[in-house]
Amino acid sequence: MSHDAHAMEMETATGLDSRKMAIWTFIGSECLFFATLISTYLVYRGRSLVGPFPHEEWTSPTGQHFEPILEIKLVTIGTALLLFSSLFVVLALYGAQKGNRKMLLGWLSATIMCGVFFICMQVYEFTHFVREGLKLSTNLFGASFFTLTGFHGTHVTIGVIWLTTMLILAIRGKLPPEKALNLELAALYWHFVDVVWIVIFPVVYLMK
C-alpha cells in the first residue's frame, strides 16, 4: 500500500480509521442530546393548559375554536422521503466505493433532493402552526414540539449542506473510490438523522 493510501486511512491501534471512530463517538453523544429533547417532550405531553393541542379540538374562553393541529398525511410523506433518502445515500456510497460515477452522482443528488423536500415540509408545517396560533411560547406542547423538531430540522439542514459538499467534490472528480470514506462519514450522519426521525415520528405524531 502506498504512503498516501496509509495516510488516507489514518489507522489506529484498533485497526479502525480514526475519523470513523470520531463520527460514531459524535453520533453516540447526539443520542444523548436527542434523548433529553424527547424526554422533555414526553414529560410535558398532555400537560398544556391552553390550546391548540396536537390531537384534540379546543375552544378558548373567548370562544375561538381550534382544530387538532398535527397534519399526519403531510408528515408521513416527509417521513417516507427521509427513509428513501437513507436508501439513496447508501446506494451513492456503493457507487463511490465501486468507482461508479453515474451511480454516485445520481443517488447522491436524489438524497439531497429528499432532504430539501423534508426541510420544505418542516418550514411549511412550522409556518402553518404559527398561523393557526401555535408558537414557541403558546403552551408546553408548542415549546417542546418546536424545540425537538426544530433541532432535528437543523440537523437535516446540516446534513444537506454536508452531502451537497460531497456532491460538488464528486462532480469535480475529487471523490475517487479510495476517498469513499469521506462520503461514508456524511452518510453515517445522514442515517443518524433518519433514525432520530424514526423515533420522533411515532412519539410526536402518531401516539395520542
Partner: protein, 122 residues
C-alpha cells in the same frame, strides 16, 4: 498493514450490495405504512372491527415498529452488522444511557405529578 487493520478493511469489503439495500428499503416503507395504518385504525376507526382490537395496544405496537426500523437502519445502512464491534459499542452504549434517561425522567415526572399535582402544572 497490521492484521487488525486488514480485518477492519475486510469488514468494509463485506458491506451488503444494492439488492440487500433495496430489500431493507422496501421493509422500512412497509413498516412505516403499518405505523400509519395502526394509527388510523387504532384511533380514528376504533369503534368496531380491527380498530377496536388495536385501540388498547396502539402505543406498544408503534414502539415495536419504530424499534425494528431503527435496528434495520443501524444494522444494514449504517453497517453495524458488518463493521467492527467497537463501533457498535460506541453507538449502543450511549443509546442505552439515552433510553435510561427517557424512562427515568418519565417515571420521575409521573411520580411528581402523582405526589405534587399542582407543582408541575406550568
Amino acid at each position: 498493514m497490521s492484521s487488525t487493520a486488514t480485518a477492519a478493511h475486510d469488514h468494509d469489503q463485506s458491506h451488503p450490495g444494492p439488492a440487500m439495500y433495496l430489500r431493507i428499503g422496501i421493509i422500512l416503507f412497509i413498516l412505516t405504512a403499518a405505523e400509519v395504518a395502526v394509527y388510523e385504525f387504532g384511533y380514528n376507526r376504533a369503534d368496531a372491527g380491527i380498530g377496536a382490537i388495536l385501540h388498547p395496544i396502539v402505543v406498544p405496537i408503534l414502539l415495536v415498529l419504530s424499534a425494528v426500523k431503527f435496528a434495520l437502519v443501524a444494522m444494514f445502512y449504517m453497517h453495524l452488522k458488518q463493521d467492527s464491534k467497537i463501533l457498535s459499542g460506541l453507538f449502543v452504549f450511549p443509546l442505552m444511557i439515552a433510553a435510561f434517561i427517557i424512562v427515568a425522567l418519565m417515571v420521575l415526572f409521573a411520580y411528581l405529578h402523582y405526589v405534587h399535582p399542582v407543582a408541575i402544572k406550568i
